[in-house]
């Protein structure tokens, strides 16, 4: 039951079907990568899982440790243990990173319970050091004026602080130079373990050199068309995506 199980998920934007009977199971403790060409529905999958209101689930199930989360709001899903690292994280003017993460952690506590501020900051600084984020960042507004690398590190910082059971990283490598990519990858790797299942969504293989997946899935036209070991990523890198079209069931 310690799985994130996506069963025959169909998702539309407006009238347009994007995900078509998408099925995938991510066991806790594993890192799965989804690769695929642009426009194949990778980001739709991430947003639908997170509960974005613009994406309509027409049928299917998403079971988080056996519980269907599709009927719940985005905030409930997050509190249930699902995390999404955004491809394009929003800027929140006037809200500092420290206050933002604090509010997110506070929302996980029972009514009337207060977050221990000392323990919170201790943990925050520890995770920031790990991600090589300057401590001055805590007083900066969330993502405001951040570089691409800073935004992505901030996403991983939130992930480290919120300790989800399952994390969906949507194109976390986009906008990162090689140094920034390495830092972000190190951060993700440090969080890997038996308590976390990861779904990495990426267009390029280079991320997978640093975060080595247990399983690689190839996505095309709203569904998974091939799955295999990490070497599959290299095959995609050398052959491109054209050949995957032939794998689509008629």
């Amino acid at each position: 039951m310690s799985t994130l199980e996506i069963k025959n998920l169909n998702v539309s934007i407006g009238d347009r079907p994007i995900l078509k009977d998408f099925t995938l199971t991510i066991p806790k403790g594993e890192v799965h990568a989804i690769m695929g060409p642009n426009g194949t529905g990778k980001s739709t999958l991430a947003k639908a899982l997170a509960g974005h209101p613009d994406y309509t689930v027409t049928s299917g199930e998403v079971l988080l440790d056996g519980k269907n989360i599709l009927e719940t709001e985005a905030d409930e899903r997050s509190r249930a243990g699902l995390f999404m690292a955004f491809q394009y994280p929003s800027e929140i003017p006037g809200v500092t990173i420290a206050n933002f993460i604090r509010a997110a952690l506070q929302s996980r506590l029972a009514e009337g319970e207060e977050l221990d501020a000392t323990a919170y900051y201790k943990k925050l600084y520890q995770k920031m050091d790990l991600l090589k984020i300057d401590r001055k960042f805590t007083s900066r507004a969330v993502n405001e004026g951040f570089s691409g690398g800073e935004k992505k590190r901030c996403e991983i910082l939130q992930m480290a602080m919120l300790e989800p059971s399952y994390a969906v990283l949507d194109e976390t490598d986009s906008g990162l130079d090689i140094d920034a990519l390495r830092i972000v990858a190190d951060g993700v790797n440090s969080l890997r373990g038996a308590k976390l299942g990861v779904l990495l969504i990426t267009h390029y293989q280079r991320l997978l050199n640093y975060i080595v997946p247990d399983v690689v899935h190839v996505m095309y036209d709203g569904r998974i068309v091939k799955s295999g070991p990490k070497e599959l990523a290299l095959e995609l890198e050398s052959k491109g995506y054209d050949w995957v079209k032939d794998l689509v069931p008629a």
Binding site: A50, G51, H52, P53, E73, A74, D75, R77, S78, R79, M84, F86, P89, S90, E91, I92, P93, G94, V95, N99, F100, I101, A103, A104, S107, R108, A141, Q158, L162
Partner: protein, 449 residues
């Protein structure tokens, strides 16, 4: 209680009798003071009430301005006043504190001997007109309101009895803030706060005015004025925390005057009132002077917050910056009308005016009328106004972190105001302002829950 909306009826026999009574109570006051009041009362009668067509009252709900039926002599019992004298001290570290309840002095924490020896005056108005008549005669209501409240200024002068004079002489710097706290404690009562701050050359001081009603739902009239005069090279930080009851008709007329190289930082927080008219005029009188005018308002239900501003640049090389932020919920209305006026000789003026509105409901209404009137040719002036709603992408980002909608909304509003709140250097005061915002916000949330 009469609900007649006849504009002149307020100056009828009822108010005349109240004024007579008020004057009779001023027996200890100097003759010039009594004369000033008499003249002001006459002026009040002569000046017309604003109408729908008055330019300076454009968009305002004139019908809500009736001064009918407020008691200018209202006063709660001494027990109530004693209790209020002690309630919520605002800041623990302060240089002096004066508390009024229903226009009556209930507490006066005097300045330290050290400051007194340096010539710092912190006195209630009644004491100031006797002991410091020279200062009062020069500075009391010395700047005429230019934004439409002439009639209300006259009424204020006629009836004012509560107020504070803060005078800081040349080269004296006071680190801790001075506090004036004004309470309205009587149903239907009128309160008239007055704050006068004057600094000598190179002096420095912080003054905080706080307005509250003992009963959050009591009806009342508040007619407040302040005059801030910053002498050459001096600095005045001035705060107004307006938290009158929900049923108060409030006026707050601010006048700032900065001499050469002086800086005035004025910050207003507007929480209460059914209808609140707030006028702020700043005069950059000397070269190199600077005025910072910041304001944050939260309006909900059918509250109306009507703000008029005027930045007058009389001398060159002076700067002014205005930032008014309003968050509106329910069917609230705000009006912002601002003008930067630059005199022909005021070259190298640098003046900014910004109004930002955050609409938290589809029914709220924010009017914005920014303006420039520039007669000099070598200046940098800009004005801008924006009205926005909570960004859906930002909201989703917060939800995706487990933060529920109510808390997300709260974070947005705090984030929106942070640009202003972060300018408050006194940490205790900044916390108090955040509390005020939170309290108002939680009340609003509770109503919708």
């Amino acid at each position: 209680m009469s609900t007649s909306a006849s504009p002149m009826s307020t100056n009828g026999t009822g108010l005349a009798a109240a004024f007579e009574k008020h004057q009779a109570a001023q027996t200890g006051a100097p003759a010039w003071w009594q004369e000033l009041k008499k003249k002001a009362f006459a002026t009040y009668g002569e000046l017309p009430m604003p109408t729908r067509k008055t330019e300076t009252w454009r968009f305002a709900s004139i019908s809500g301005l009736s001064l009918e039926g407020y008691d200018f002599g209202a006063s709660a019992t001494g027990t109530v006043h004693t209790e209020l004298a002690d309630r919520a001290r605002l800041v623990a570290q302060r240089a002096g504190r004066i508390v009024f309840a229903d226009n009556k002095l209930v507490t006066h924490e005097r300045v330290s001997d050290e400051l007194a020896a340096q010539g710092v005056i912190f006195a209630p108005l009644a004491e100031a007109i006797v002991k410091h008549g020279d200062i009062l005669q020069e500075y009391f209501m010395a700047q005429d309101p230019q934004l439409g409240s002439e009639k209300f200024a006259a009424l204020h002068t006629a009836f004012v009895s509560s107020g504070v004079l803060l005078y800081v002489p040349k080269n004296v710097e006071v680190t801790l803030p001075f506090v004036a706290r004004y309470w309205s404690a009587t149903q239907g009562g009128a309160v008239l706060p007055h704050t006068l701050v004057i600094t000598g050359e190179n002096a420095k001081v912080t003054m905080v005015d706080a307005f509250d009603s003992a009963d959050r739902s009591s009806r009342g009239l508040a007619l407040g004025f302040n005059h801030i005069f910053a002498g050459r090279g001096s600095r005045i930080d001035y705060y107004v925390l307006q938290n009158w009851s929900d049923q108060t008709l409030g006026f707050q007329i601010n006048s700032l005057t900065a001499e050469r190289d002086a800086t005035i930082n004025a910050l207003a927080v507007n929480i209460g009132c059914a209808h609140y008219r707030c006028e702020t005029q700043s005069i950059m009188k000397g070269e190199g002077s600077h005025a910072e005018m910041l304001s944050l308002s939260i309006a909900d239900r059918d509250q109306e917050i009507d703000q008029r501003t005027l930045q007058i640049h009389q001398a060159g090389h002076a700067t002014s910056n205005l930032l008014f932020k309003n968050a509106l919920a329910d069917e609230a209305r705000t009006i912002f009308s601002g003008l930067i006026r630059v005199a022909p000789d005021a070259q190298k003026t640098d003046a900014y005016q910004t109004n930002r509105n955050l609409l938290l409901s589809g029914e709220a209404e924010a009017h914005s009328l920014p303006g420039l009137e520039i007669e000099a040719n070598d200046v940098k002036c800009s004005h801008g106004a924006t009205t926005s709603q909570i960004d859906e992408a930002e909201l989703f980002y917060m939800l995706a972190r487990g933060i529920n909608k109510a808390v997300a909304r709260e974070l947005f509003v705090f984030g929106f105001f942070e640009e202003v709140v972060s300018k408050i250097e006194n940490e205790e005061l900044a916390s108090r302002v955040r509390e005020l915002i939170l309290q108002k916000f939680r009340e609003e949330e509770a109503r919708h829950a």
